[in-house]
């Protein structure tokens, strides 16, 4: 593509009063028409996988969730793990896009809308993960009819819904702003609201777990800020990786400067996240009491691969992002992917860890409905990871991920997400 911006320091497009309305329209029109065969194939493939996922989901509903690996003592699994993960992924785009606008500072002009689009896709996927986890999805309407406003899950549903709508509005506002139909002030207000909502969405998701006094692993005040930081890690990683990809595909310009800035941000977020992790582990371990169980489970127990995986991946990401000579685009993509996988590891630790430690670990009757590895008795079931997904869960989860990808790609194909500069 010819429209390579080689200027140093991209000015956020909102701060470019000189932009001509005509050019914006042109940009919109062109964006709608963008995309080659590769994108079409991408959309087709993701649509197909999503469709397979839906079929599997219907199978899960008709044949029963007994086909999943979830059981009474580990009643959530891959779906809720992925829900947490995708809520996190949804953060980065919106925050990266809205922070500069909200605070009126220089941002990442060229990637702002793509970033928000990634948020929208991730949010849809997150919501879909909740839906596929429900036993009675046809009763979803009850959420509105019988809302228990005291339930963190209800909060999350409200905030997630709001967040999704706001993300769309925000994207729309940016496009309209480019067309001159929405004022900067309005856009700025929307961005502030979106930012607050983004922080809330992570906090509330954290509270689904963190407010539960019943589970040692989850019950910590740190969980909400930690979720925000984790969201920033994987969100930033996602934006960095996606933009690098789109830049390579020629869809957007992803300047060196933006890359470096995002890399630095990613490094900071990773370090903050690790810092929180350190704080939490210390708090758990220091009294040398019940919390030691959590530390032991993570560092040397069944969840150790995910714990050390997270640590190593975070370290890799941080080193790449912090050492200037390593900040090449490919390595930054590596760092981003590492950061994303690190947070996925975190999510697995969090979810499985919540079930791995039981409050009443007394021997009792065990039936196939009790726990995933019931055949080897309660003790056997907890020797390794108490939960590991069943094939149908992998399939449904893949379908949901494909749905997110499809939405994103559709956005790329049909929405004016490219920067307006020509």
């Amino acid at each position: 593509m010819s429209d390579i911006n080689n200027g140093v320091g991209v000015i956020d497009d909102d701060f470019n009063p000189a932009a001509a309305p005509k050019a914006r329209e042109a940009a919109g029109a062109r964006a709608a028409a963008w995309g080659g065969k590769g994108l079409a194939v991408g959309i087709g493939v993701s649509a197909l996988i999503a469709a397979v996922g839906i079929v599997l989901w219907v199978m899960q509903l008709s044949g029963g969730m007994v086909q999943t690996a979830m059981r009474n003592l580990d009643s959530w699994g891959l779906y809720i793990t992925m829900f947490m993960f995708f809520v996190g992924l949804s953060a980065g785009g919106l925050i990266i896009s809205s922070v500069p606008k909200a605070f009126g500072i220089r941002g990442f002009g060229g990637i702002s809308k793509v970033a928000v689009m990634s948020s929208i896709a991730a949010t849809v996927a997150a919501i879909a993960f909740v839906v596929v986890d429900l036993g009675q999805p046809l009763r979803l309407w009850e959420l509105f009819a019988y809302s228990n406003l005291g339930s963190p899950l209800m909060w999350d549903i409200i905030v997630l819904g709001t967040y999704l709508i706001l993300s769309c509005v925000y994207l729309w506002a940016q496009v309209q702003n480019e067309k001159g139909k929405v004022s900067h002030t309005a856009l700025r207000v929307i961005s502030v609201v979106a930012l607050v909502c983004a922080v809330l969405v992570h906090s509330v998701t954290a509270w689904i777990f963190g407010l539960q006094q019943g589970r040692e692993m989850w019950h910590t005040a740190l969980l909400a800020p930690w979720f925000v930081s984790s969201a920033l890690v994987c969100g930033t990683g996602l934006v960095l990786a996606v933009c690098a990809g789109l830049s390579r595909a020629g869809y957007i310009e992803f300047g060196r400067d933006s890359q470096v800035k995002l890399a630095k941000l990613l490094a900071v977020f990773v370090l903050v996240d690790l810092y929180f992790f350190g704080c939490d582990l210390l708090t758990e371990a220091f009294p040398a009491a019940g919390g030691m169980e959590v530390v032991a489970m993570l560092t040397s127990g069944p969840l150790a691969p995910f714990f050390w995986g997270e640590i190593v991946l975070c370290a890799v990401a941080a080193v790449i992002c912090l050492v200037p000579s390593l900040r090449t685009t490919p390595l930054l993509v590596v760092a981003s992917v590492a950061a994303i996988l690190a947070i996925l590891c975190k999510r697995v630790q969090l979810l499985v860890g919540g079930f791995q430690l039981t409050n009443l670990d007394l021997a009792g009757p065990v039936t196939p409905a009790t726990v995933t590895g019931w055949e080897s008795g309660l003790q056997g079931a907890y020797t390794g990871m108490v939960y590991w997904p069943a094939p149908i869960e992998w399939g449904v989860a893949l379908g949901v991920v494909a749905l997110g990808v499809m939405i994103f790609l559709l956005g790329v194909k049909y929405l004016p997400l490219r920067p307006k500069q020509d």
């Binding site: 009757p365 039936t367 080897s376 008795g377 056997g380």
Partner: protein, 818 residues
């Protein structure tokens, strides 16, 4: 605190009873079987809300606890069983088996139709063809007739098990009439009889009547739980013991393993398996040496003063000096100290308890002196070594027992199941007699209380014109020899057919491989009647489906309780199942016994015959009253628990016997008992045959193995309950930590447990209740539930020739990791 105030739903008890009475009368007239409650309700229009009818029944399983249940029937199906009241609230009992009996009734595995082994297939191969009842009965009759014609009726063995204690449909019920009319063989029973046989030497209580009523423990200051585990095996009795404990009674458990009961007791003393008799004798010796015995009891209520002739070992009777007419009392001499001469018992004010005397040239010694001399052989120091206990503990136990205000001993059938079981129980009975801990409130044995108050007219049920009786000429342990050799004691004894009546002998007799390899293949015909495909039914030629507890009417002279209890027929037999009354009638008539089994005879006919006795008349026990009231209280002394020997012991003299004048083997089948006759007068210790550390088997097989009576099954009943299998899904062998470590075995490993007789391959668990060298597993599992083999392969088929009992626990094994 636990009084119930539960309003009954459905039809009221009163209206239900009226309905039963009326219809039962009608049925008797019509000569038909009693209609089920469902039918009643339908006709009566009496079904209440939800169409739920409540009938009553009594669990007739061989745990001997006799819990009474309310049966809730909806749409013709027994949907729920709940504990029903007895006069005494703490006798209201229940357990997980009784509560879930409908899971046996409606189990998909229930035997539904008469079935015949497919021609040409092996016994036990599992190939069956469904046949009609007509075909089954004519097939059975022709087999029986052919055998009777060729070999005589004794060539058919009736094997009565313990799956049903109903008086008509159960172990002592209608099939005894069939067997007795035909004159078949009935191998002499050998289950749980050593305890009673041993105690009988002292208390004269026969084989089963040694125990006080369960609630008597409320009067005990001490409860010694000796080799039994009531928490698992008789929880309804444990309820009373727990109450006693709450009132301050001290509970002391003596057991080789730290049983569930030991864990609930105040004190626990571990003892080497099968050395209990030694411990009891050493305690008795210590008590006497230290003057802790109950002299008053010994003088007034025991035969201490009875003079024993040194020359013959017999008591010195009046007949030694003058003629005593046949049937006339022949009293025993004691030594009248005041007169310095022998006097007939009862005529001397203070007979000598101890001493050697001469009566008209016959040297005599008092029973007590002989006993003391015998006991002197058993010192505390030796006992400590033999029993693996501390001397201090033995002394403590002796002092606690002797000093107790009232001590009871819960005994049941733990020690019973060893070769030396009767000597152990005999020794404890002697110990109780010397300490006066028997025959009064709170003192004596507890276990399974049997009501002596109501003698039923068994003859009326069993016998009709032409009654031959069943031949009990050899014990069960010898059946495999008889079948294999067709001889008994060297004489021809043709044995061609076996009939399994509420019994699962393949599973529940020791030495399973003998059963499988010597009995099964050598018989012409095997008939089994059951609800489920037990190990025995699997090996039969014809299997008949029988009715469950709730599919027929019956009553039980309750074991363990002072009641006689009625069972309503609450549902019709499922599928093609029939009750024993009907089956026995069909077979009987097919064999030409129409006089003994007339078509018109129903349950009522037999029930009324059985209840036609003087005792029933006196207690006003009638079928009508049982139907109307559900149960009848048979308490002898109102407000007082039944106590063995409260007034006098059921011995010839009415006294506790310290010396057994004429010991007799429990069953005489031609064995030689001369060798030990002289020894059997006075209690002594005999080592167990295999478990003893000094046995030959001990050299080869280091681990003792016993079958645990768990809460999951009663013997092999409930072996296949789909409900209970959710809680207790598979056989598990329990091994001590030390034995497991030595063999590199961990919990969850599959192990092979073996000895020279057989093996089983099964999952194992390390059980800290077990000392090194002792293993166990909950019994009742059938062969197909094991990975290989079965636990009953491990047990041996021999018996002590005096007690003639099964010795299931007298078994040694070794274990290896698979």
């Amino acid at each position: 605190m636990s009084e119930m105030n539960v309003p009954q739903r459905g039809i009221s008890r009163r209206s239900f009873l009226k309905a039963t009475g009326a219809l039962a009368g009608a049925a008797a007239v019509a000569g038909a079987a009693t209609p089920s409650l469902t039918a009643l309700a339908a006709e009566d229009g009496a079904a209440g809300a939800g169409g739920e009818v409540v009938g009553y029944g009594v669990c007739r399983s061989n745990c001997m606890q006799s819990c009474r249940y309310k049966a809730h029937v909806r749409d013709g199906k027994l949907v729920k069983l709940t504990p029903a009241e007895y006069g005494e609230d703490l006798y209201r009992g229940s357990c997980l088996r009784g509560m879930s009996y409908q899971h046996r009734i409606y189990s998909p595995e229930r035997i539904k139709y008469p079935m015949r082994r497919v021609e040409g297939t092996e016994r036990g191969a599992g190939e069956w063809e469904r046949i009609s009842w007509d075909e089954a009965i004519s097939d059975i009759a022709s087999h029986f007739q052919a055998i009777i014609d060729e070999y005589g009726p004794k060539a058919i063995a009736f094997d009565f098990g313990t799956g049903n204690y109903g008086e008509i449909q159960g172990q002592t019920g209608i099939f005894n009439r069939l067997g007795g009319m035909l004159g078949v063989s009935k191998p002499a029973g050998m289950n749980d009889l050593s305890t009673g046989y041993g105690i009988d030497r002292v208390l004269g209580t026969g084989l089963m009547y040694f125990a006080n009523e369960a609630k008597s423990v409320l009067d005990s200051s001490h409860i010694f739980i000796w080799g039994s585990n009531p928490v698992h095996s008789t929880p309804q009795n444990w309820r009373w013991m727990q109450r006693a404990k709450e009132q301050g009674t001290k509970i002391i458990t003596i057991d080789p393993v730290k049983s569930a009961t030991a864990h609930k007791s105040d004190e626990y003393f571990a003892i080497k398996p099968t050395t209990d008799g030694y411990l009891a004798l050493a305690m008795a010796n210590y008590i006497i040496e230290n003057g802790l015995q109950d002299d008053d009891f010994i003088a007034k209520r025991s035969t201490a003063a009875f003079l024993v002739r040194d020359d013959t070992g017999m008591l010195l009777h009046k007949s030694a000096f003058e003629a005593v007419a046949e049937g006339e009392d022949d009293p025993v001499f004691v030594w009248d100290e005041a007169a310095g001469a022998a006097a007939l018992h009862g005529s001397a004010a203070s007979p000598a308890l101890e001493g050697r005397f001469e009566v008209q040239g016959i040297p005599v010694t008092t029973s007590y002196t002989l006993l003391k001399e015998r006991l002197a052989d058993y010192t505390v120091a030796d006992a400590a070594r033999v029993c693996g206990m501390d001397e201090d503990d033995i002394v403590y136990l002796a002092r606690e027992l002797a000093g107790a205000k009232a001590a009871s001993v819960n005994i049941s059938f733990g020690m019973d199941h060893y070769y030396n079981g009767y000597q152990s129980c005999w020794a404890i009975a002697i110990l109780l007699a010397l300490t006066g801990q028997v025959g009064r409130d709170g003192a004596g044995f507890t276990g399974i209380f049997l009501n002596t108050a109501l003698a039923l007219n068994t003859k009326g049920l069993w016998a009709a014109k032409g009654f031959k009786g069943m031949a009990t000429t050899f014990p069960m342990t010898m059946l495999h020899e008889v079948v294999e050799t067709q001889q008994l004691n060297g004489q021809p004894y043709p044995m061609k057919a076996l009939v399994s009546i509420i019994s699962n002998s393949v599973s529940n007799w020791p030495a399973q491989n003998n059963y499988l390899n010597k009995i099964i293949p050598n018989l012409d015909f095997i008939l089994a009647m059951d609800m489920e495909m037990t190990d025995t039914a699997r090996h039969a030629d014809i299997v008949l489906p029988t009715a469950s507890f709730y599919e027929n009417e019956d009553f039980r002279k309750a074991h363990n309780l002072p009641y006689i209890v009625h069972q309503d027929k609450v549902i019709e037999p499922l599928y093609e199942a029939k009750d024993d009354v009907e089956i026995a009638g069909l077979i009987g008539r097919a064999l030409g016994l129409a006089d003994a089994f007339p078509e018109s005879a129903t349950f009522d006919t037999y029930a009324n015959a059985l209840l036609k006795s003087e005792a029933c008349e006196k207690a006003n026990v009638t079928l009508e009253r049982l139907r109307a009231e559900g149960y009848i209280d048979l308490t002898v002394l109102p407000g007082k628990p039944g106590i063995v020997g409260r007034a006098k012991f059921p011995t010839k003299s009415g006294l506790a016997q310290l010396y057994t004048e004429t010991p007799a083997p429990r069953v005489s089948y031609g064995q030689d008992v001369k060798a030990r006759f002289a020894k059997e007068h006075l209690v002594y210790y005999q080592e167990s045959a295999e478990v003893s550390e000094n046995s030959e088997a001990a050299k080869k097989f280091p681990i003792v193995f016993y079958q645990e009576h768990s809460r999951w099954r009663t013997h092999s009943q409930w072996f296949n309950s789909p409900l209970l299998k959710e809680l207790d899904p598979k056989p598990v062998f329990k091994i001590s930590a030390a034995d497991a470590a030595e063999r590199g075995i961990a919990s969850g490993d599959v192990v092979e447990v073996f000895n020279d007789r057989g093996h089983m391959v099964v999952e194992c668990v390390i059980d800290p209740s077990l000392p090194a060298g002792v293993s166990r597993m909950p019994k009742g599992w059938q062969r197909d539930q094991f990975i290989e083999g079965g636990y009953q392969e491990l047990t041996y088929p021999v018996h002590d020739e005096w007690s003639v009992a099964f010795n299931f626990y007298d078994t040694r094994v070794d274990v290896r990791k698979k």
